[in-house]
């Protein structure tokens, strides 16, 4: 099954440049492809453009030059706002934001989980079934009627993840998924993402937590501090290249200077 999946290209980026509205460069000349069923990590120092790249993959930002293709369609503002592609794209691709508070905007957890399926115009019975299934799958049934204000950071992350899963995405974009989580929740997340991968879900994560990346990705894209893609290789190969990691400010090149 995995071999069949890997032959299907999901994202295809060609010479993508992106600047923030103020004019600052966020990404330069990014070219890579991602196949279905892959576990892909985008790694780089703070401000290297990891989150921006995820926003481009989710059709929330659009390239200034170059092209971002998803499922064979070039992502433009028109494409992601026009049905039926828009709805199908949103159904297939889920985005876990770094800031869970931004993602949990409904009054209750069950409403949060129902938000995506409602926007996809699914039937009421189908929405109720999905909400119940995902609550059970993620292990947060006890949080069903809680308000997001009453949740811990770990619980918020679980609810945010569940709120995406109810749409049934085949691709998950994860922005710093391990940030702010305690060790037990991090372990849970590693196992959970492993289960999703085993089910054939494509995972694209942006992170600078190298331990987490080692546990949850097979392939790594390394962004430098000047916003270029400087390496696209298997995770084990990238993580063993200390010179590369030091050059992109992911590990220290020498022992920390004493104060």
């Amino acid at each position: 099954m995995r071999a069949n999946l890997l032959s299907e290209i999901i994202f295809d980026l060609n010479h993508v440049d992106y600047r923030y509205p103020g004019g600052a460069v966020a990404l330069r000349d990014i070219t890579f492809s991602a196949a279905a069923g892959e576990r892909l990590a985008i790694i780089g120092a703070n401000g290297s453009g990891k989150s921006t790249l995820l926003h481009l993959l989710d059709g929330l930002y659009f390239a200034d030059s170059g092209t971002v293709d998803a499922f064979g369609v070039t992502l433009t503002e028109t494409a992601v706002e026009t049905p039926p592609f828009a709805r199908e794209f949103r159904r297939r691709v889920g985005f876990l934001f770094q800031n869970s508070d931004a993602q949990l905007f409904c009054a209750r957890v069950d409403e949060e989980l129902a938000f995506g399926p409602l926007q996809l115009r699914l039937s009421r019975e189908e929405i109720e079934r999905r909400v119940a299934d995902v609550l059970r799958f993620v292990g947060i049934e006890h949080l069903r009627e809680r308000s997001p204000q009453q949740l811990s950071e770990g619980e918020k992350k679980k609810v945010a993840l569940a709120s995406i899963l109810t749409c049934g995405p085949r691709v998950l974009l994860l922005d710093e998924p391990s940030a702010g989580l305690d060790p037990r929740t991090q372990d849970w997340l590693v196992e959970f993402l492993g289960a999703l991968h085993d089910a054939g879900i494509t995972l694209v994560e942006a992170s600078h937590d190298l331990n987490f990346v080692a546990d949850t990705a097979d392939r790594a894209l390394v962004l430098s501090e000047d916003h270029r893609l400087v390496r696209d290789a298997p995770v084990t190969q990238v993580l063993s290249d200390c010179d590369l990691l030091a050059s992109v400010n992911l590990i220290r090149p020498k022992p920390r200077a004493r104060v």
Binding site: L60, F95, N99, C106, R108, Q149, I164
Partner: protein, 308 residues
């Protein structure tokens, strides 16, 4: 390397704290902490017992019933009838287990403000009539700027009646609105308002505001605490005002950033500008009964208002 001035700091024992009598900073900190805690608690859900009479009724019926009663209160002008309405509303609040203390807090705020607004109406310069109490005798021909004053400034009987009527109406309406909010979950209430004609965008803005006001309040607390942790005390009033302005600016920037993120999170989950919300169950008999009772009660009050 740390700069020299950093390592050359005196290492003498810390001086004893001196009481200056300044309490403003502490008051702001306590107010922010208390406000945050209260908001988080009050906004978590309805405050009535879940098994209370109104707690089990559909939100649409409650909104419709409350609107009927509030409209009736605006038409009633006899003081005894208004007082009866107010008593009825208070009894409903207590019977639904909301608690007199919460109601007291509401009454201390809004109606007191209303009283301050309406008090001038009790004076003879606004409402003429038989004097009840003489306040001041400026004498004939007295002026306040361009405004000619009467020879005596009095509180009049009709003026007191106007103020009492206004205050009773405000108290009744505020109590009914409080009862509605206290016995209905915020999401259900907003959904009911939406179904009863509130514009979609307005309902969405209210939902967001309800969700994020606590998050932003916490951000305000953090900004204040961060400032306190670097304050040496003894700042001037102008300096404090500058700081407050900078804090408001910082909070505004965070709000903008959060708003952008929320919008992106909504788009990412399929929101296309036409918000879909969950349909609620149909009305049951008891839901319809509440609206009928509210209508009959309002009609009875209006009749009593005419006959008394």
């Amino acid at each position: 390397m740390l700069p020299d001035w950093y390592t050359e700091m005196p290492s003498a024992a810390a001086p004893e704290p001196v009481r200056t009598g300044r309490r403003a900073g502490r008051a702001v900190r306590r107010a922010l902490a208390s406000l945050g805690e209260t908001m988080a608690r009050e906004m978590a859900g309805p405050q009535a017992r879940p098994d209370s009479c109104l707690g089990r009724v559909d939100a649409h019926s409650k909104v419709a019933g409350a609107i009927v009663l509030i409209v009736a209160a605006t038409f009633v002008h006899r003081l005894p009838v208004l007082a009866m309405m107010l008593m009825g509303a208070v009894v409903l609040v207590l019977a639904n287990g909301v608690g007199a203390r919460r109601l007291g807090r509401i009454w201390l705020g809004v109606p007191l403000f209303s009283l301050a607004m309406i008090l001038p109406a009790s004076l003879n310069v606004v409402t003429d009539g038989a004097p009840l109490l003489t306040l001041w005798c400026p004498g004939p021909g007295a002026h306040l700027g361009l405004w000619e004053l009467p020879a005596t400034m009095t509180i009049t009987r009709p003026g007191v009646a106007v103020a009492a009527r206004f205050l009773l109406r405000v108290l009744t309406c505020v109590t009914l609105a409080f009862l509605l909010v206290a016995t209905t979950g915020p999401d259900e209430l907003l959904h009911a308002l939406r179904r009863l004609g509130m514009p979609r965008a307005f309902a969405m803005v209210l939902t967001m505001m309800h969700r994020y006001i606590v998050v932003l309040l916490r951000a305000a607390q953090e900004i204040h605490l961060a400032k306190l942790s670097r304050s040496m005390g003894g700042g001037s009033l102008v300096g404090e005002q500058h700081w407050v302005a900078a804090g408001v600016g910082s909070l505004f920037r965070r709000t903008r950033h959060l708003a952008d993120e929320v919008h992106e999170a909504m788009l990412s989950r399929g929101y296309d500008g036409d918000l879909q919300v969950a349909a609620r169950p149909r009305w049951r008999i008891r839901d319809g009964l509440l609206v009928i009772v509210a209508l009959l009660f309002s009609a009875a009050l209006l009749l009593a208002n005419r006959l008394l």
